[in-house]
Structures are given as C-alpha cells and as structure tokens.
C-alpha cells in the first residue's frame, strides 16, 4: 500500500475542462461500451494521478457510481491514487531481470531513498515502483527513470545514477 502523501488537490480549471472534453470525445468514439478504463487513462494523463476529486468528475460524466470508478482505479496497476515523483523510477522485477539481480538493485534504491515501492520521497522528487517485465531482457537488470533506460545495473551504480537527477 502506498504511503498516503498529504498533498492538497491543486487541479486547475483548465485541467477539468480538458478532462470533460476528453471524456465527451471518448463517449463519441467508444459509444457506451467499455469507457471506464480509457477514461481513467485520459484523466491520469492530464493530472498525473487520480485523486478523489477527479474520480468524482469521471463518475459524474460517465453516469457511474464513485464506487465503480474507485473499483476500477484500484484494480489496475497503471492507476495511482497518489501523486508520483518528478522522477519516476521503475525497476523491472520480471523473471529475466530478477535472476540477474534486479531484486538487489530495488532494495538498494529503497535504502538510498528511504521509501518503499509505490511511495514517493517527501520532497516529491523521486517515486519508486517495481515494474513488470518491460521487455528488454537483453539489458537485464533494467531500471528506468522517466524515459531514461539504464541496463545491466548493479547496486553500486545507484548513487551515481541518482546524482544525475539531483
């Protein structure tokens, strides 16, 4: 369970307008069938995460109960109810990476950043997630920071890599 971070909701009017417009467009293209996941994906794209207020907007627009929205949002790994860090770190814990030692890399990151998987540092700079196989097994073990990919990572490289983002 991710650590709950006390960040007040600071969504803007523009974001809300953008979301409502996106939802209207989705209703157009998808018809009535199977909108929810696509709607949540759009919302997360706009806000970066899915705070309660945003879930209410979706419920209202899709004529669903907030419980339904919450149910779907908490089912899938892609959705986060909490904000992510400015730099999102992912460590692949797929089998190929795991047998090559990505578990140690992950542990080293937890120790260095003093957070656990799914959490974010207090300054909202780094968040850490264990990811499923990202499919570049030739580079195992792999970690990503936003769009940067680091291959064949060893625990003693971690501090050097993080330093680039500080």
């Amino acid at each position: 369970m991710a650590k709950k971070i006390d960040v007040p909701f600071n969504g803007t009017k523009e974001q809300e307008a953008k979301l409502r417009a996106a939802l209207a467009e989705l209703k157009e293209t998808h018809g009535d069938n199977g909108l929810m996941i696509a709607a949540l994906q759009k919302a997360q794209e706009i806000y970066g995460y899915l705070p309660e207020q945003v879930q209410h907007i979706i419920a209202e627009e899709l004529d669903a109960s907030p419980a339904e929205v919450y149910g779907v949002a908490t089912f899938y790994a892609q959705f986060s109810l909490f904000p992510k860090g400015q730099y999102k770190i992912g460590v692949c814990l797929g089998t190929a990476c795991y047998v090559k030692g990505s578990g140690d890399v992950y542990k080293k990151l937890c120790d260095t950043l003093h957070i656990e998987g799914g959490q974010c540092t207090d300054d909202l700079k780094f968040s850490l997630d264990a990811t499923r196989c990202i499919g570049c097994c030739g580079l195992a073990p792999v970690m990503t920071i936003n769009d940067d990919v680091y291959g064949k990572v060893t625990p003693d490289q971690i501090e050097g890599i993080l330093a680039k983002y500080n």
Partner: protein, 596 residues
C-alpha cells in the same frame, strides 16, 4: 533503386539502447552526403538477437553490425557506405568466416536452427509502411479467403493445419473458430490478446512492433470465418511502441480499404479498434480480458458459457493470442499441409521463445516444435555465461515450472512440457545457473501471483498468500519438514478450487521445484543452509584462514565492525554482528572470504 539498404532495429530492446538516435544520426549523415537517393535507411522490427543490440544490417553485403553506438555512425558511413570497406570491428563475430568473408546470417548458430513463420517479417520490413508488408505477400491471404473460400473452408484449413493457441494453453484454434461460427447471433466479435503479462516473455510485443499488419490481416480472416464485423486488440499500455505501430497500421489498412466496409469489393465488412490494458496479469485470462474490454475490473467469469457462445458484451467471441494470429495468413497461403509438416504430431508448426536470464544470446528465437531444450539453450542460446553450470530452465512464467538439467533433452511441445510439470505458456524461457536458488525462484513467482490474484476466489486469494508465507519460512530457515508436505497439499487445493487459469496454475512453480529440487528445500529446512547462497537469512560469510593475509581491508570496509583480527594475522567474522551485506567478499583481493 537504391544501391544499399541499411536496416536499423527499432524493437524495444534496441530502442532502450539508443537505436533511435543511431537511426536519426544515420539519416542525417546520409542526407548531408547527398546519398538519400542511393542509400535507404529503414527502421525495422526486432531481429531477435537482443543481447547484441543495438543491431544494424547493411545490404547488399549483409554486414551485421552489433552493439553499435551513435559515435560509430560516422565510421560506418565513411568506411562502409562511401568507401565500400566493411567495418570489421563492429561485425557480429559469428558472421565472419575464417577467411574473413561474411557468412549469411542464417548460417550462424543463433539463426541456423530457427524457422521463422510468425517472425518472418520482423527485422525485414518497415512495420510503419503497409506497402512493404504487401510486397511480402501481405493481405494476399485475406484476398484469397474473401474471393475463393467459404467461411467453412477457412476453418477447415485452420483445423487441418493443427494450429494450437500460442498464448499458453494450446487449445486448437480451428475448433475455437468452429464453435464461434456455429453460435447463432447477429453480432460477433474477434479479439486479440496482446496483454502479454508473463514476466520475461516479449514475443507478442515484437510481432506487434515488427509486423503489425500480419495480426490485422489474420483478425479480418477470423472475422470472415466466424461472421464478425468488429475486432478488438487488447494491448498492454506498457508497450508504447507496439501501440503506436498498431495505430499506424490500422489507419493505413483503412486507407487501403483492407479494413472497413466492402473489403475487396466482396461486401465483407470488418473493422478493428485498440483497447489499452491498464496492467493486470489476470487480464491475460480470456474471460477477464473481455470483462476488462467492457471497462470493468478484470475479473474472470465462470465457463460455461464459453466465449464462443457468450463472450464480449454477451455476444459470441473468439479470442486468440498475437502469435497465433501471426501464423494464420501463412497457413492460408501455403496450405495446411505445409504448416503441419513442421513440428511434432500433436504440436504442429513453430513456437517463438524469449530467451532470457543466465544465457549468452538473450533474445527472440522461433524454432519448430519438437526442438530439444538442449538445442535451444546451447546451440542457439550459447549456454550460460561465465562458465557457470546450467541448473534449470523456467517456462510458462508464473503458471509454469522449472525444467531441471537432466531433462534437457526433452523435445519441446505442449504435451511434453505438461508431462514434466511445466507448460508452454506464452513462451518465456528463463535460464538459471548454479547461482540461482530454486526456493527463491518459487517464492518470486508466488509473490507475483499474490500480487496479481484478482481476489475473486478464496482459494487463490488466500491460498497463494499462505503458500507464499510458507515459502518465506523456508527461505528464513524456520520451516519444518512437515511444512513441505503441507505446502504440497495446499498447492493441490488451490489448483482444484480456483475459477480461472491464474489460480489453477499458480502453484506450478512450487510443485515443480518441490518435485525436482526437493533436496534444496530440505537443505534450507534441515541444514538451515541455502546451497546457492542466495537466501540472506541463511547466509554465513566466513574467512578461510589459510588464504587470509591479514591485510585488514575487509575489517576497514565492514559497515558494522563485525570483522576483527590483527595485521598480518587471519581475521574472523562475528556472525552475530554480520549483516550479510557482502562488502568484505567484494573487497578481498585474495578470495579468502566465502559464503558458507
């Protein structure tokens, strides 16, 4: 006409390694030299040999450059393209013959035993250009089906070919199609399962990235066979390149009239949409996937009714995996007999495997069914690196099992793998060497299933959690021999009482390791020892007195001051203080510190 073609791999493995920058640098240089009318640079799908990425091939010479860096681009253009001298230092060693000439790629060990059907266009064509797919007989099968065959003819060919589902369970594809065709209904759906969730498997992604039109064409053929006019491709949102190429491919197919209304003027209508998965392993299960397309939590539904009767939105539906579809156009064009001539009696055709873990040639290979594990791991994969001993191969992901070294000569097909306690799965093949602890591996998979169990069935939700806790006891050294028996009992209970494939197969990694590596479990339980030296709680670092020179380096680096001893005298580690960080072993220059 171009005098030279440069193919740069644009698969995920190579792009994570900067292949896009290499491609851009190449294009830039070629334009700068004014060679754009002579030299053609293309970004293709995956070549398969991901371990050597980024990969580039230059034709007509067939020079296979591996581990190319952006800095190498100028040298390749200056030497190879302008002066015609191949840059030997960048060539993949295997492709250079003794006399220095270049061998055909298909003669190298990695490619020699492969037979590419599903992957035939990957690394060959530009996946973002429908014209290139068409040039390689693309959409000819759809044309043949629509103009020369009845829906039943199509199903008969697929049935006769013996094609079985490549997603894991191996259900005969033709029979699935027949059921859906026989179901009465005005609206039917064709779905494609591209929610590749098995950790370490990436063949579906590579096909979508390298040859998206093959899947689109096959889905249209399936639509014609069962009488559907709408299809959905459910693909992981974690595969951005695949999603992008699919989107482009669908758009192009529509522009060419190969999707949409009145295809080939035959009155047949078929269109496709993409649905993005949001990261839930259970959605690889067919009923869960359909629930997810409908926008809900991806929980599985009881079967019957089977999807062929009542599937997506309650309508008859077929769902096949990406690799299964990729075979279909070839079967239609070359015939059922051609396909059935490959493979074993009950498993026809080829299978793509993603080789990963402790193996030299990490990557994607496609081999005829019936090839032995030994051929894949040693002949194609090049064996374990650093001279380590092969211990086991894991197939089938979290639903599969570990195949021990003594069964390495088993010919791989659906039935043989099941018989030895594993399964084909989607085709991940992870190699483990003597440094991997099998209990730890079983625990790793259980942790995965605990996390991914959707929670609908108690047996799976609670059972996997309890099983995981028992495994933790084993790796912590607090389990008893009785616990091992209890674990086995619980495994069978979970298998028998779960609704869907996830729960029914979740205990497989435990059962197969218990079966083949019981001695390792017993070592953890009885001797409180992890033979591979992986399980931290059971680890003891020791100093071999004979080898220790008393240099004090270890003592100075130990973060908790657990090492004592005088200068030039053998040192000792206090096990009470030791936190098993391993720094001492890393620092010791004399190899005097061992894991016991």
């Amino acid at each position: 006409m171009f005098r030279s073609h440069i193919l740069v791999c644009g698969g995920t493995g190579c792009t994570s390694n900067n292949s896009i920058k290499i491609y851009e640098a190449l294009v830039h240089r070629i334009y700068k030299e004014g060679l754009e009318k002579e030299v053609h640079v293309t970004q293709t799908g995956c070549f398969g040999l991901c371990a050597l990425g980024p990969i580039m091939i230059v034709y007509p010479e067939g020079a296979f450059y591996s581990q190319v860096k952006v800095e190498d681009v100028d040298e390749i253009v200056d030497e190879h393209i302008i002066k015609g001298r191949i840059v030997t230092r960048l060539l993949y060693k295997e492709t250079v013959a003794d006399d220095g000439s270049i061998k055909a790629l298909n003669d190298t060990n990695f490619y020699k035993k492969q037979h590419r059907v599903a992957l035939r266009n990957c690394g060959v064509i530009n996946p973002e250009k429908i014209e290139e797919y068409i040039a390689y007989d693309g959409y000819e099968a759809l044309g043949k089906v629509l103009t020369e065959m009845t829906p039943q003819d199509v199903i008969d060919v697929i049935l006769k070919s013996g094609l079985r589902g490549r997603g894991g369970a191996g259900f005969p594809t033709g029979r699935k199609w027949q059921f859906a065709k026989n179901s009465v209904g005005e609206k039917k759906y064709v779905c494609c399962n591209a929610d590749e969730g098995d950790p370490g498997a990436f063949m579906d992604r590579s096909i979508l990235e390298g040859d998206p039109h093959a899947v689109i064409e096959a889905m249209a053929i399936a639509g014609y066979a069962i009488g559907a006019d709408q299809g959905y491709i459910y693909v992981r949102a974690e595969y951005p390149i695949a999603v992008q190429r699919l989107t482009i491919a669908i758009k192009q197919a529509r522009e060419y009239g190969l999707l949409g209304k009145n295809i080939f003027g035959t009155g047949f209508n078929f269109d496709l949409d993409i649905r993005l998965g949001a990261g839930a392993f259970v959605c690889g299960e067919e009923t869960a996937l359909m629930t997810s397309i409908e926008g809900h939590r991806g929980e599985p539904r009881p079967r019957p009714p089977f999807p062929a009767v009542k599937g997506l939105f309650g309508k008859p539906t077929i769902l096949n995996n990406v690799e299964t579809y990729a075979n279909v156009p070839q079967i239609i064009l070359k015939g059922a007999d051609w396909f059935a001539s490959m493979g074993t009696e009950k498993s026809r055709g080829t299978k793509v495997f993603a080789l990963g873990g402790k193996i030299h040639n990490t990557g994607l290979v496609e081999i005829p069914m019936g090839t032995t594990m030994r051929e894949i791991i040693y002949d194609i994969g090049g064996g374990c690196p650093n001279g380590k001993k092969f211990k086991a191969a894991q197939t089938g992901g979290p639903s599969g099992g570990c195949i021990p070294a003594h069964l390495i000569d088993t010919p791989i097909d659906y039935d043989n793998l099941l018989a030895i306690g594993s399964m084909m799965g989607s085709g991940g093949l992870i190699v483990m060497d003597e440094d991997n602890c099998m209990v730890d591996i079983a625990k790793f998979f259980l942790e995965f299933t605990v996390d991914e169990s959707c929670g609908k069935c108690t047996a799976c939700r609670v059972g996997t959690k309890r099983l995981y806790e028992m495994l933790c006891k084993v790796t912590d050294g607090t389990a008893t021999m009785e616990d091992l028996d209890k674990m086995e009992e619980l495994c069978y209970y979970i298998k028998e009482n779960s609704l869907c494939g996830l729960g029914q197969t979740a205990p497989n990694p435990v059962l197969s390791t218990l079966h083949y590596f019981r001695d390792e479990y017993e070592a953890h339980v009885r001797d409180k020892r992890c033979p591979a030296g992986v399980c931290k709680k059971l680890l003891r670092y020791q100093i071999v007195a004979d080898k220790c020179k008393g240099c004090t380096l270890c003592a100075r680096n130990c973060p908790v001051g657990a090492i004592t001893g005088s200068v030039k005298e053998p040192h000792v580690i206090d096990p009470e203080k030791c936190i098993k960080c391993g720094v001492c072993m890393e620092k010791c220059r004399f190899g005097a510190i061992i894991k016991a």
